[in-house]
Amino acid sequence: MLQVGPQHYLILAALLFVLGAIGVVVRRNALVVLMSIELMLNAVNLTFLAFSRFPLAAQAPMAGGFLQGHAAVFFVIAVAAAEAAVGLAIVIAVFRSRASVNVDEFDTLKL
């Protein structure tokens, strides 16, 4: 029977992070880029939870057990939501003036 340890969670989180990063860099649709950013943030969440569930030795627990990671995840989720809201607002504003969400076309800040 497969013993699921911290490495499985971490590798999964790393894979998700890389997928998200590639999506940020490669995809052309601004909304998909935002989605990829969400994916990266969730991968980070998974990493925090993994280390929270399988803590490294010599770490002091909170009252009620090891919950530092879980606490961090809440922060991250809140930030992700705020960032998604702002990001979507920007994309909508740009769409209103450019009628496109193709990031390749947003290149006027150049030399």
Binding site: A21, V24, V25, V33, V103, D104, F106, D107, K110, L111
Partner: protein, 657 residues
């Protein structure tokens, strides 16, 4: 002896030049003439006073000096503007101002109708001032000021009619060829300063020079003389200089400026005797130039060109004289030559003036009937230069040849050879032979010139009636002709002069003890009568040949003779193609080099490759770098991620804290 008024000698003509040049356009003609003539005359009188002081003093090296001011002083060099009249420079001053004054008078007539007459007199006076500075200077640098000053005036006067491109070019050629000589002169001054720390004659006299040092310095100074006195190979400017008005040719290119080289060598006789090899070279150059120029003169048809080459040839004689150590002979010929050559040139000018500008002898002839006074003076001067009758030219030329024959200046020189050194004692007699042959040629071409111009029948166009010149032009001619005759006193042999109690008037006596004696010792004693007879024979032979070919009964003999050697004739007429050679070998390659260097080195190599190239390089790198800033946010994000990864890797590799 120190006086305070020597500076008037060059200053007065300079003031005259300033007046004529700056105000001459607006003041009446008479004022211009007065300013020009009076200043030169006053200069002559002041010079006469100084000359009197010097010649009446018993010591042959007596000097009347003046230190006008210290011109420049830096480091060990101190150059004064100092003037010194001694027997040589005093006599030169008289020649320059005297003959100069006569030519000024002549020019009043010659240039009367020219609208630029005021410029002419300004330049002429400036020339006299510069020549006087050259002669009177007591150091080489001040002499150089006069040296280049006369070069400048030569440029201005040759190109006087500057509307004509050819004349302007002739002036430029004179200046540039002179400058090439000046290059050597300057190096000579530098060398002397480097070896001795002095540039003034007194300091140089006392300096100790090794043979090599003296030879280098003297050779370099002589290069300057080659340029100024139109010797081989830098004589090419003098014939072209005939483009200027004839009084210019008379004053500058016959009597005074071109003699500056001879004057310089004579002045520095104490230096040149320390370099016997250089003296030898001087004599050779002089002899070769004399022969070369005489050959060319035999076939020229422009009367001024004949006289120009004659001047080059006679200058060669002068250098022959100083080169064999007979400094007094060379300078004596300088003085007598001034008289008769000026007379010849002014006579030619009168002819040209009377023919309204015709200079080709083929269109002259029979002018004796139309211009009797001019013809007579020309005849006298021709007799003087050829030595047909013993007048001034006969004695001075023969003295040079006799000195060459008997010279001891080369007696101790040795040419190194494998089978033992050979002496050069034969050089003197060789020069004598060459000189005598040249004298033959001289007689021939001068009589040819006279006969073609004044004898026979008039060959010019009938529209032009030759007329005699006004008295203001013929009077100087007559005075100069008289001087050519009277000047024979300068060259009388000692014994003869003693009998006539004219000892004090001979040049040899006058300059005895002044010039240094060549290292080989004084010349040997020969039979003067022999050399006199040879000279007379040669002169009469040349005249005879000229009479046969160009006299009244010649009837085409000259043309038939010329037709027998067409290539030789062509070479002579075309001056041995020397100008063309210089043009092809030096002038054109130099300009091509300049243009080539400009295109290849400056425009292409330095500017395009290096300067603009480095600018392009920077622009190129910029355009590469620009690719990172194309406004594409995803590219920025990707680069950030990559950079982050690198940082993390580096930290992990080195061990994070």
């Amino acid at each position: 002896m120190d006086v305070g008024w020597l500076h008037y000698i060059p200053l007065l003509p300079l003031l005259g030049a300033a007046f004529c040049g700056l105000a001459g356009k607006w003041v009446p003609k008479a004022w211009v003439y007065a300013a020009a003539l009076v200043t030169v005359l006053l200069s002559f009188l002041v010079g006469l006073v100084a000359f009197e002081m010097v010649s009446s003093s018993p010591a042959p090296t007596a000097q009347v000096r003046e230190l006008v001011f210290n011109w420049m002083a830096a480091g060990k060099l101190s150059v004064d503007l100092g003037l010194a009249v001694d027997r040589l420079s005093g006599a030169m001053v008289l020649v320059v101002t005297g003959v100069g004054f006569l030519i000024h008078v002549y020019s009043v007539g010659y240039m009367d109708e020219d609208p630029g007459y005021w410029r002419f007199f300004a330049y002429l006076n400036l020339f006299v001032a510069a020549m006087l500075l050259l002669v009177l200077a007591d150091n080489l640098v001040a002499m150089f000021v006069g040296w280049e000053g006369v070069g400048l005036c030569s440029y201005l006067l040759i190109g006087f009619w500057f509307d004509d491109e050819a004349k302007a070019t002739a002036g430029r050629k004179a200046f540039i060829v002179n400058r090439i000589g000046d290059f050597g002169f300057l190096l000579g001054i530098f060398a002397l300063f480097a070896f001795t720390g002095h540039v003034d004659y007194t300091g140089l006299r006392g300096a100790n020079l090794s043979l090599a040092q003296a030879s280098i310095a003297c050779a370099l100074l002589f290069v300057g003389a080659i340029g100024k006195s139109a010797q081989l190979p830098l004589y090419v400017w003098l014939p072209d200089a005939m483009a200027g008005p004839t009084p210019v040719s008379a004053l500058i290119h016959a009597a005074t400026m071109v003699t500056a080289g001879v004057y310089m060598v004579a002045r520095l006789s104490f230096l040149y005797i320390q370099a016997p090899g250089v003296l030898c070279a001087i004599a050779l150059v002089g002899a070769l130039t004399a022969a070369w120029a005489a050959l060319i003169a035999t076939s020229q048809t422009d009367i001024k060109k004949v006289l120009a080459y004659s001047t080059v040839s006679q200058l060669g004689f002068m250098f022959m004289g100083v080169g064999v150590g007979a400094f007094f002979a060379g300078t004596m010929h300088l003085v007598t030559h001034a008289f008769f050559k000026a007379c010849l040139f002014l006579g030619a000018g009168a002819v040209i003036h009377g023919l309204h500008g015709e200079q080709e002898m083929t269109k002259m002839g029979g002018l004796r009937r139309h211009m009797p006074r001019t013809a007579l003076t020309f005849l006298v001067a021709t007799v003087a230069i050829t030595g047909l009758i013993p007048l001034s030219g006969f004695f001075s030329k023969d003295e040079i040849l006799a000195q060459a024959l008997h010279t001891n200046a080369f007696s101790f020189l040795r040419l190194p050879r494998e089978d033992g050194p050979i002496g050069l004692t034969w050089l003197g007699p060789a020069i004598y032979l060459l000189g005598t042959a040249t004298a033959l040629l001289t007689s021939f071409y001068m009589w040819r010139c006279y006969l073609l111009t004044f004898e026979g029948s008039y060959r010019g166009p009938s529209a032009v009636t030759p007329h005699e010149s006004p008295p203001i032009m013929t009077a100087p001619l007559q005075i100069l002709a008289a001087l050519s005759v009277v000047g024979l006193v300068l060259g009388l042999p000692e014994g003869f002069a003693h009998k006539l109690h004219l000892e004090g008037f001979t040049w040899e006596h006058f300059t005895k003890g002044f010039f240094a004696v060549a290292r080989g010792g004084p010349p040997g004693q020969g039979n003067l009568l022999v050399t006199y007879l040879v000279a007379l024979a040669v002169a009469w032979a040349g005249a005879f040949v000229a009479w046969r070919l160009y006299g009244p009964e010649a009837a085409g003999r000259a043309e038939r003779l010329a037709a027998q050697w067409p290539r030789l004739r062509a070479a002579l007429v075309n001056k041995f193609y020397v100008d063309e050679l210089y043009d092809r070998a030096i002038v054109r390659p130099l300009w091509a080099l300049a243009r080539g260097a400009f295109t290849v080195v400056d425009k292409t190599l330095i500017d395009n490759v290096l300067v603009n190239g480095s600018a392009q390089l920077v622009a190129g790198i910029g355009s590469l770098a620009r690719r990172f800033q194309n406004g594409d946010v995803q590219r920025y994000a990707a680069l950030t991620a990559v950079g982050l990864l690198v940082l993390v890797w580096a930290l992990l590799k080195r061990g994070a804290p």
